[in-house]
Symmetry: C2
Subunit: 240 residues, 2 copies
DNA sequence: ACAACACTTCGTTGGAGATCGAAGTATGAA
DNA sequence: TTCATACTTCGATCTCCAACGAAGTGTTGT
């Protein structure tokens, strides 16, 4: 039983890796890595293959639980199945980058500083926000330790509500409320789940950050710089 | 420049994924995931291919910096290039396991509890040891924050030396002294690097844990249970 | 009802790469 | 020296799967 389950697990793992390791599929996945959903036609364009070929690729990605699809009228919206997929993608790219580009010192600065991971904020900005939220006791590891899930404290709920985040609404969402999402480049956690998504949405709405076209990079605006300092005590130095 | 580097990075990442996503190569990598080195012939056996085929696979893995080889006489010892490779392997297997086996609730218990990751202790045991070492102020994040690297405190050096770990020797080793190695199953860090390896070696020597044949699982012995409690304050309950 | 669009399914083709055996190099052992 | 072992390189198959176009299903708009 031990060996056979091991075999099966290795098999499934290998299949996942193979699914990622094909140019057209990889392009699609990287395109979805910012957490936004795209139609099949949009993915046809980034994959640079015919619609029929793209369709085959997408159904394979779906079969392997790497993407999830929601049908809306005559459009099919594809998105990553979970933030974990984005994390693994990032892990692989760290491995890929280490060989020759150690000189370049990790990711490009604008990507290190702030970027989206799935639908929340990652990079040094994301990690800093996570750390401040923890330090200020706005969020705390949930009762069941070791599973990386967070709860919002009473103090945190008050403060976040004041910022315009409806904590109660978030709690009733079907997805995990908040969890520590591992960031490969930083080797630290940032806030994922419904709360993480709400924070990114807030930051985009208030124009604290803006998405860079066709990239996961986030630009922190001048007002955003002030806002992160005022609300969270996160000071984005010019360093790095 | 932005787009082109993005493309190149995606290309490299995709190549890594493809390298893992081939049955024979995946079997080799999983075999090496416990951090021990094996000869090419041993890997021929686990890959279940001819020597010539295995040779081609190994040179590809080497070209992609997934494994490193050290030639010793007429033997070639292959080992994973870094703990990061093992981590990515684990990340992929978490993705693979999530689809159908959510019912089985993550990894098998004996793997969750204690296992080797590369050459250090992972699983709940590894995470607990990491947390206790931090809580007792034996290790602390190094001056350059956010890079996941740890230093040993004076207090920690004394205590670890008393346990038979030669801290000074570890410091002169070419590899990183200690860092937080991300554990996908636990979503928490355990101690990696030279210190992590030394801890596993110590635990094996003193028979606190024993390796399970052909698996990364570690069996905690009765005396190990007592030792982890006495030396580190890690109490391995019967729970889970 | 009909046309335009968004995708998928099917059947065929083509090419990359996994495989092997045979032959070659290097090390160690008798 | 000679044989055996450990591993690689080379050249030739062969298998798998990505690719496409053509035809199908389903949805929206007019």
């Amino acid at each position: 039983m031990n060996v056979s389950t091991n075999m099966a697990a290795e098999d499934a793992t290998l299949t996942i890796a193979a699914a990622i390791g094909e140019p057209a599929r990889a392009r699609m996945l990287f395109c979805l890595a910012d957490g936004r959903a795209r139609t099949a036609t949009e993915l046809v364009l980034v994959a640079e293959v015919s619609p029929s070929t793209a369709s085959a690729h997408l159904s394979r990605l779906k079969a392997n639980d790497l993407v999830r699809v929601v049908i809306q009228g005559k459009h099919r919206y594809y998105r990553l199945e979970s933030p974990d997929v984005a994390s693994v993608l990032e892990g692989l790219s760290v491995l890929a980058g280490r060989g020759r580009a150690t000189v370049a010192s990790g990711a490009p600065d604008h990507l290190r500083a702030a970027r989206s991971c799935y639908d929340h904020i990652a990079g040094t900005l994301g990690v800093s926000v996570h750390d401040r939220l923890t330090a200020m006791d706005w969020i705390a590891p949930s009762s069941r330790a070791n599973d990386g899930v967070y709860d919002v404290t009473a103090k945190g709920a008050k403060a976040l509500n004041a910022l315009g985040i409806d904590i109660d609404a978030l709690r009733t969402a079907r997805r995990r409320f908040a969890f520590g999402c591992l960031d490969w480049t930083e080797r630290r956690a940032h806030v994922g789940g419904a709360l993480g998504a709400a924070l990114l949405t807030l930051a985009l709405e208030r124009k604290w950050v803006s998405r860079e076209h066709g990239s996961r990079a986030l630009q922190v605006t001048a007002s955003g710089r002030r806002a992160f300092a005022a609300h969270f005590g996160v000071h984005l130095g010019v360093r790095l």
